[in-house]
């Protein structure tokens, strides 16, 4: 496919036309040689976004999401690459399942899918999974996400063994002996009678992982960091040279635990929504470089698992289709960070952490890009989402940055109709 995008606001820097041929960015060619010419009328064009923390739910949990629906949602969010977490059924802990996910994602073709393998067999935190063989099959990292890598001793073994294969280790930080509630512990949980999860539950494991990584001199990546003191510890660790990287999610800088007062499980996730202080600390950490990447932790669930009693509902919200608009509206439009910094957070840094080699827009690079309308406000509508999940807290929010087109490998993977 030969595609020309006319009148692009290229990275907010200059007006230009973009030429794509044979799946790559190409030199200029005459209009009559194009299969399609799109006038984007000054809309923002960025490299295709990468989300390194997504739950696609296939195999086994297709009633929540599958690779086809999840990657359609990714494309609608402007993503051209997503990493899928291994807590499927069966768990992604062997090369055969890795291969099947990659094959299925290629058949569907909406988005590049980079599987993450389980660190431990069955996510049990007891025995190492076949990390070397899974690396050969195509994993880009390991994680026991959904659960923490259980003990400090096992974490050490995972970090050491993964270093032989140059496989990044991503950890969900939660000390289970401290958690066990359904929302952040504090005045709100006390007032509405929901068992609380202390922020110390996340912080204790962040501290543990920093200590082990520092001791071994090996890298570790901390998932969905949400707390003020967690960010402080990561900032301090980076300053003294510990190879720690981390991610946060849009809900940790746009929502607080106050939203839980009406018992809607669309505000229930792990780690739980924090206080205003936590939100401010997350934004500060995004600004000062403590946070390396913004991910969604896209966690589709069935209505029957979310529209029930709060404490019984499952954790997590969908995020792929709201992420860029939330980041743009709350971080860039407010002047907190530049668009370049947002591109590091949503594309270049995850590509670097996982060594994906993505995000280039030079001639000859794979043509992965996204086109966003940053001029006009739009209303986020849960019923227009392409994910199977309807568990979003952002229904009805007024945002900037609606996706107009997504192009992956030169093919249009999403196009806003009308």
């Amino acid at each position: 496919m030969r595609l020309i995008l006319k009148n692009c606001n290229y990275l907010g820097k200059e007006q230009r036309d973009i030429y794509i041929a044979d799946g790559k960015f190409s030199e200029k060619y005459p209009d009559d040689q194009a299969d399609r010419i799109i006038d984007v009328k000054g809309a923002l064009v960025t490299p295709g976004l990468i989300d390194m923390h997504v739950h696609l739910r296939e195999p086994g949990l297709e009633y929540k999401e599958d690779i086809a629906s999840g990657t359609r949602a990714a494309a609608r969010g402007g993503f051209t690459g997503v990493c899928c977490m291994p807590n499927t059924d069966p768990v992604v802990d062997n090369p055969a399942i890795v291969a099947s996910i990659i094959k299925r994602a290629e058949e569907v073709g909406n988005c590049r899918v980079y599987p993450i393998g389980a660190a431990s067999k069955g996510l049990k935190g007891e025995e190492l999974s076949e990390i070397g063989l899974m690396k050969e099959a195509g994993i880009v990292a390991v994680s026991d996400d959904g659960k923490p890598i259980s003990t400090a001793g096992f974490m050490r073994k995972v970090l050491e063994y993964c270093s032989d294969f140059d496989v990044p280790v991503l950890n969900h930080c939660e000390d289970k002996s401290l958690s066990g509630g359904a929302m952040n512990e504090g005045p709100v949980s006390t007032s509405i009678g929901i068992r609380g999860i202390p922020s110390a539950s996340e912080d204790v494991m962040i501290a543990r992982d920093i200590i082990i990584a520092e001791y071994l001199g090996l890298p570790v990546h901390l998932c969905h960091v949400s707390t003020k003191s967690g960010m402080r510890m990561i900032r301090d660790a980076k300053a003294r040279g510990v190879k720690v990287t981390c991610e946060t999610c849009p809900h940790y800088f746009t929502l607080t635990d106050d939203y839980c007062v009406d018992y809607s499980a669309n505000y229930k996730m792990h780690p739980p929504l924090g206080t205003r202080e936590d939100v401010e600390a997350v934004i500060e950490a995004i600004i000062d470089g403590t946070v390396d990447t913004i991910v969604t932790d896209h966690a589709p669930h069935h209505q029957d698992e979310k529209e029930i009693e709060f404490s019984l509902a499952l954790n997590g919200i969908v995020g792929l289709e709201s992420s860029f608009a939330l980041c743009y509206t709350y971080l860039v439009k407010t002047g907190k960070i530049t668009l370049d910094r947002l591109m590091d957070l949503m594309c270049h840094n995850p590509s670097d952490i996982l060594k994906l080699g993505r995000g280039g827009m030079e001639i000859g690079d794979d043509a992965d890009l996204a086109v966003f309308d940053i001029e006009n406000e739009f209303t986020f509508d849960k019923n227009k989402m392409l994910t199977k999940g309807r568990n979003t807290p952002y229904d009805g929010w007024k945002l900037y940055g609606e996706t107009l087109y997504t192009v992956m490998g030169g093919n249009i993977t999403y196009e806003k109709l009308c």
Partner: protein, 309 residues
């Protein structure tokens, strides 16, 4: 006047005026109970269902008697365990009851927020008879009626509450309701059972049982679930009784005319020594009568609101 909302979900949703109206109505209902002929026609031709997902003796019975004294048709459903594990969802069950022409559903559930979750889906009014650790508004109302019979105004009164604060929906409802009427609530219990941020509900956390009870106008004990010992919230019953029970000495620190309350059922010799339970200052048995009166008042006022619409 009357009640603003279709449902009674908690003290959080009531204004000070609504609380006083319930209490004043309950005083009249108490006269009905104390008269020889316990029969009114306020709920004649109406249907009331109690739906209890947790065990209850006094709350359930007092709601049942309240609705019978006022002439309604009533039915009861008991179930246990979480709705998810029972096959039918809570919402499906509630909708089923609703569609049978029920006017008021009185629900107790082990999950905080369960009545708040179902209420918007139903035509029936929902009365929260206790939801998880959140609220138990009719218990707070009967406690407040018991106080209101003994002092004219709540303004500036000190109410001491001792025991397992963390898990107690009775504390939450009382703290919210009493604060709205200008009373001061002081709480005390083991730190392991003291929820973080309770001060933001307008209560004061005391340093000891005696400190909590000092100069109080009313003292309330709370039931401690003995199985909490297994989750390391306290080491033994005897240690709990020694350091956290409302003793004679603690009660003596309260005002001379202070009275002692307990929502029941009481673990004698744990949160209250038996001689304290039975002492002259104890109004625990009168609370039970007030429970029926308050529930009559709540049902009456909710039904009056329905009849107006």
């Amino acid at each position: 006047m009357g009640l603003k909302n279709k449902d009674l979900l908690g003290m959080k949703q009531l204004t000070a005026e609504e609380i006083m109206e319930i209490l004043d109505t309950a005083k009249m209902m108490k006269m009905v109970i104390e008269s020889g002929n316990k029969k009114t026609t306020h709920l004649q031709g109406k249907s009331i269902v109690t739906l209890f997902y947790e065990n209850s003796t006094r709350t359930r019975l007092s709601f049942e008697l309240a609705s019978k004294y006022m002439g309604s048709a009533s039915a009861n459903i008991s179930t246990s365990g979480s709705s998810v594990n029972k096959g039918e969802s809570l919402l499906d069950t509630a909708r089923t009851i609703d569609m049978m022409g029920t006017d008021i559903i009185i629900m107790r559930h082990n999950q905080s927020g369960a009545p708040h979750f179902i209420a918007p889906y139903l035509n029936a009014s929902v009365v929260n008879a206790g939801d998880g650790m959140n609220e138990h508004p009719t218990q707070a109302l009967l406690d407040m009626l018991t106080m209101y019979e003994r002092f004219d105004s709540f303004e500036g009164k000190k109410i001491a509450i001792c025991g397992d604060i963390y898990h107690s929906r009775v504390v939450r409802s009382n703290a919210i309701g009493l604060s709205k009427l200008g009373a001061k609530v002081s709480v005390y219990g083991p730190r392991t059972m003291m929820p973080i941020g309770i001060e933001e509900m307008g209560v004061t956390v005391a340093d000891s049982v005696i400190d909590c009870c000092r100069d109080a106008d009313a003292v309330m004990g709370l039931r401690v679930q003995l199985e909490r010992q297994k989750s390391s919230l306290f080491p033994s019953v005897s240690e709990y009784a020694k350091f956290y029970a409302i003793t004679k000495e603690a009660l003596a620190a309260a005002k001379p005319d202070a009275f002692l309350m307990h929502p029941g059922p009481c673990n004698h010799g744990v949160e209250l020594p038996t001689e304290v339970y039975d002492c002259d200052q104890s109004v625990i048995n009168q609370q039970v009568t007030n429970g029926v009166a308050v529930r009559m008042a709540v049902l009456y006022l909710l039904m009056a609101r329905r009849n107006e619409l």
